[in-house]
Symmetry: C2
Subunit: 107 residues, 2 copies
């Protein structure tokens, strides 16, 4: 026991849960917000800005990145992040359609 039994749910349910999981930690919400507010490139100002260690920020960034929400490229030794808007909108639409459908069917 202890592990989520993903296999008992259908794909669309797991999809909603996986999307939500990205936003289910305040550090990741803060990171996305901060990146979205910057002009062009940002590097690890995030560490100062948010107040977690560099390793921890990097970990959260990779969770967000694994979900496909980031475009990152190196400029010299600095990494520049940008939100992958197409994917981000996909997330928005998927979540929102879950909300709409649930609301519509409801008693």
């Amino acid at each position: 026991m202890g592990a989520t039994k993903r296999f008992i749910y259908n794909q669309s349910i797991n999809e909603v849960a996986n999307i939500a999981k990205v936003f289910a930690h305040p550090a990741r919400v803060a990171i996305l917000k901060y990146i979205s507010e910057q002009e062009g490139c940002i590097n690890n100002d995030l560490v100062d800005e948010i107040g977690l260690s560099q390793a921890t920020i990097s970990q959260h960034l990779s969770v967000i990145g694994d979900a496909g929400l980031l475009k990152g490229r190196f400029e010299g030794n600095k990494k520049c992040y940008c939100i992958n808007i197409e994917r981000f909108e996909e997330f928005q639409i998927l979540l929102n359609s879950f909300f709409i459908k649930t609301k519509t069917n409801c008693c």
Copy 2:
């Protein structure tokens, strides 16, 4: 270490994360979906329907309920659940405005 440092984030960021957390487990997504599809009252068909133990379903229901998303009342010994649409819409709006704001500010 190991615990989320909620206190370093502002209220609106924690709010988004807390909302997302409710939907961040497929069982809870499945429960909400199922409840929304039923006419009027449901009882623990959820156990058969989803395939987790009664204890586990009950736990997930209380997570959803603590977030204010359920209206539940007993009819005899059976509990009837209904989604609290007002709260549910609040969630939808809060999440969606995070998406919109992030998208708008983005590079």
